[in-house]
């Protein structure tokens, strides 16, 4: 059975995906950076990111999953302010370890 990716490995891959989407060097993407705030991702970038997450990690990742990475009932304002590289990486890692 394949060992699930470590949280650090997920974080590293996610930084690479974000770098491709937002034309940023992965090493210059802070863990705590707001994806829609500091990094400037737009709605279409979130769609692009979801598709890349699905391909990269071989999981299904819906719009609801993105929201849930902050909180399932997160308001748009809360989502925008709390949707960071780290929260997303933790959510993806959790999904991988849950086998979903």
């Amino acid at each position: 059975m394949e060992t699930p990716l470590s949280h650090d490995a997920v974080l590293a891959r996610l930084r690479s995906l974000l770098g491709d989407v937002l034309l940023l060097p992965p090493e210059e993407i802070p863990d705590g950076a707001g994806i829609m705030g500091e990094l400037g991702a737009e709605s279409i970038d979130l769609l692009d990111l979801r598709f890349r997450i699905e391909r990269e990690f071989s999981i299904r990742y819906t719009h609801e999953d993105l929201i849930a990475s902050v909180h399932p009932q997160a308001t748009p304002d809360r989502f925008r302010s709390e949707f960071t590289v780290l929260t997303l990486a933790r959510h993806i890692a959790g999904r991988i370890h849950a086998g979903a």
Binding site: L22, E42, I44, D45, D48, F51, E54, R55, T62, H63
Partner: protein, 250 residues
Amino acid sequence: MPVREPPAGTSVILGGTRGIGGAVALRLASPGTHLVLLHLERTAEAEAHARRLTERGATVRLIRGNIAAPETLGAVAAAVEEAGQPCRHLVHSVAVTTFKPLIEVRPNQWDLVFAVSTRSLLTAVQALRRPLAAAHGRVVAISSQGATRHIPAYGPLGPAKAALEGLVRQLAVELAPEGIVLNAVRAGLVESDAASRLPDIARGAVRARTPLGRIGSLEDVAGAVCLLLSPDAGWIVGQVLEVDGGFSST
């Protein structure tokens, strides 16, 4: 004389759970019709739409997936094969964009818009080529006025729709000898989620310029799509039908 309806079979509608694609599904739904509908989001809404279609006598298979991913169209093709009926129709009613000036678009955004809104028609026809050819199936793609004129803050979607129309024309000539017929409908502004976000002044400007004096409805466009899907359109190949209440003639 009413438009002739084709014999029952399978109709594939990419984006068939809402918008123009959803309205086409409603027009096609009848006893003996099998509908394969692809959607990405809003699963509850898609399931509610499927129930409306089954109430009209159709059988429905919902597939959720990214249209730009090869496995998604593989699932659509598998669903067509499982249905075991002639694949009479393919409707492409899928698009994404970022609403901002094109000059501000990043490469990944351009790529995604084209992958979803344009390239997916080619890959869908490739995936369904055999069943469409066997059934002399008809394909209709939904284009928009952005294909031929500037629309403010339309992002890459104008070029993507222009490319979609070119793709329809090219494939129509290549595939007609196999019995697969492709056409497009270039839809004007219709009452939809996207249109509802436009400022009143923009909607008013469209209404003022439209000879029929109103914004179009989803059903207006669905009717034209179904005409092109019907045997009565048998001699129409590789065309783009403008469906806009006369806007483009002014």
